[in-house]
Structure formats: C-alpha cells, structure tokens
Symmetry: C3
Subunit: 149 residues, 3 copies
C-alpha cells in the first residue's frame, strides 16, 4: 500500500492549478482595492483568518470590522500581495477541500512611487467549493522567521 | 440563462493558463534583454502600448523608436519584470481574443548587485492568436495608487 | 517541415506546468527551511549546481557540505526564493528531460522584519523523471547583469 503514503504528493491537474491561481488573483484584487465586503465574500460565511500577530477574525462580519478599523493605515499607499510557490493538496474525506499553502510578499507603494516591504509570510489556507465556486474557509498567516540551524 | 451572467468567470483551462504564462515568460525575457525588435515582434503589427505616464506607442515601429530612445537609462542596470495574479478572460465575438490583467513588479539591479524597485503596476492586455501563436494587440499600464477609502 | 523548426516552442500542457511549479514549491520550501539533506534529495545523486560565483557543487554530498558551511550566514534571517516566468522545454532524445529556466528573486527578512534583496538571478535547470518523480540533474545560476546596449 505504498500508494497511500504518497497521498499528499498526488499530482495537481493543470485545470485545478489554474482555477486556484485565478481564485487568488480575484481575491487579492479585492483586498488590494480595499474592497472589504467583496474580499469577505471570497470566504465562507463562517470563514476565519488567524493573523501572524495572533489575532483571530472569525466569520465575515468580524473580518469586515477588523479590516475597516485598519483602513486609515492604507490611506496613502497602494498595497499589493504577491504569491508564489503554491502547494495544492486535496483534503477532507472526499477530497472536497483543498489545502493550499503559499509564500506571500507584500509591497506598499507610496504616492511618490517609493516601494517598501512588509516581512515575508507563509500562508496556509483551506478552500472549499460552494455551488461550484471556491471560497476560503480558513487562513493561517505565519510571519517568516529564521530557520533553526 | 444564468450561465450568461457568469461569462466573465468562465473557467480557464490549465493548458491555456500554461500557454499564456509561457507567452509572457518569452516576452519578458526579450524586453529585459533589451531585445527591442524581438520584443516588438511579440505584438501585432498595429499593436499599441499605453504607458502609465499617458504616452501611447502605436504600432511596432513607434514601440521600437520609443524603446530605443530610452536605452541609455538601462546602460548600467539589469531590469526584470515580475508578474503575478494573472486573470485570463476569453473575449471577442468568438472568444478569439484574451483579456489578461496582471500585477507587475519591476526590479533594477545595478552592477554592485543593489536592487531597487519601480512603483508597482497593474497591466491590462488584449492578446490575439495569429497562426496559432499569441501576440499582444494592446497593453494599458496603470501605476498603482492608493485605493479610495 | 516547418514544424520541426518550432520544436523549442512546443506547447507545455497545463498538467506539466502544474507539476513543475509544484516541484519547485516543494524544493524551495526545503532550501528556505535550511533542510539541507531534504533539499539535496530533490537532486539526482550525481546532480550538480553551478553557482553564479563560479563554484561548482557536484553530487549530493558536495551540495550538502557546501550548504552546511554556509549555514552561519542564515542564523538570523529568513530567506525566501521567489520564481517567475518559467520556460519549460522537453529535451533529450525521447523528451525524457525538461529544460526549465526561470527568474529568481531572493528576499532576506531579519528578526526585526526588515526585508533586503540579493541581486536577481536567472536559473537554468535540467529536470529528469525518476520513478515518476521529478528531480533536478543540473542547475546553472546566472547573476543578472546589464544587457549589452
């Protein structure tokens, strides 16, 4: 039964890869446009985000409230989230979920065009399908720290 | 006819996703190598680029002339264009075009290895197929600014 | 026989594109976690890396030794390798190899969260398939320099 051991290395199809990347392309356009409600709608109603600082936003309403409170910080900058190295793994009893992890780099461009960077992050999502569309059910954001050597 | 409403969210196949990414991988290698003529050939003969500063280059010849005039600015740096979050949407009466938008980050590495950044951009392209190959017919480059809050 | 001329522009399938990107997603997680042995195992036993400074690591053992010697440099930083613009081309007499080239950006985030950058690189790999899994057989890393103008 060596196949069972390889479950987590099952091949991702090109179609699924493109679908997941497209999902994030839309989700990130919304958060970067500060379209808070639109961003929250890319999560399930009970979706949650565990931020790198330990704060947990549970449910769309909490997510919207938290983001609204943070808006003043974005008044004069254009934020962009860049992703790389997606790992997509079907999960759940009937593969109805996707575990997706990825690297994330965040740029902040001010009005003068000067770009600064947030620390890099690694993110772990669980995506689910509702009426054929992908939604994020949970997100855990890790701030990257030095590896143990 | 709820299907019609979803037209813009039609699923991109893995094959098309890979083809478009490969197209840009080649196009960006040419522009970053300052292969101006080679870069212009990835556009249709009447292709155009609307730059973020409002300048319009209309047709391959204008594109080449504009880039040649800008060459001195690149004498001592290695420029690289980085893309992310591609959204690919078939368009035109018979889906013969692709509307593609993406994030773009531009690095400039000097001879000492120091990396600086241009402001971030969002780009909107229309790609068409000629003899089976993709070409850019139009490009609109937007410099990212703060979102309205 | 104009087809023959186009060999190097053969279309990459979505499935292959996703497989290669997933391979690198795993390989980069290992190197960025300083999992030196795990990283070396993503190469063939006789795999080699030609670094941008001219140093050649030949075989997994040499690779591990070289990386172990460099570990002190990574004590206080989180390194992340970001890839873009992959070009994937089947090669070898029976397409049993893949030539893959890509852009690489390397971030270094210190404990305070400050991000700095290594010079940008372009990398040329040869990947082979062993027991169904991809492995890197050779890697040539080029530091990006100004293009000839």
């Amino acid at each position: 039964m060596s196949q069972a051991v390889r479950t987590t290395e099952r091949q991702v199809t090109g179609d699924l890869y493109a679908e997941v990347r497209t999902f994030y392309a839309r989700q990130m356009r919304r958060v970067d446009a500060l379209d808070i409600e639109g961003f929250a709608e890319t999560f399930t109603e009970d979706g949650e985000v565990l931020h790198a600082n330990g704060e947990l936003a549970k449910g769309r309403q909490a997510m919207v409230a938290g983001m609204r409170a943070a808006l003043p910080r974005y008044r004069d900058i254009a934020v962009r989230h860049w992703f790389d190295h997606l790992l997509i793994e079907p999960a759940g009893p009937r593969d109805e979920e996707l575990r997706v992890s990825y690297y994330s780099l965040v740029t902040r461009t001010d009005r003068a065009g000067v770009v600064t960077f947030e620390p890099t992050f690694t993110v772990e999502d669980v995506l689910v399908r509702r009426d054929g569309r992908l939604l994020t059910r949970s997100r855990v954001i890790h701030r990257d720290g030095p590896a143990a050597v």
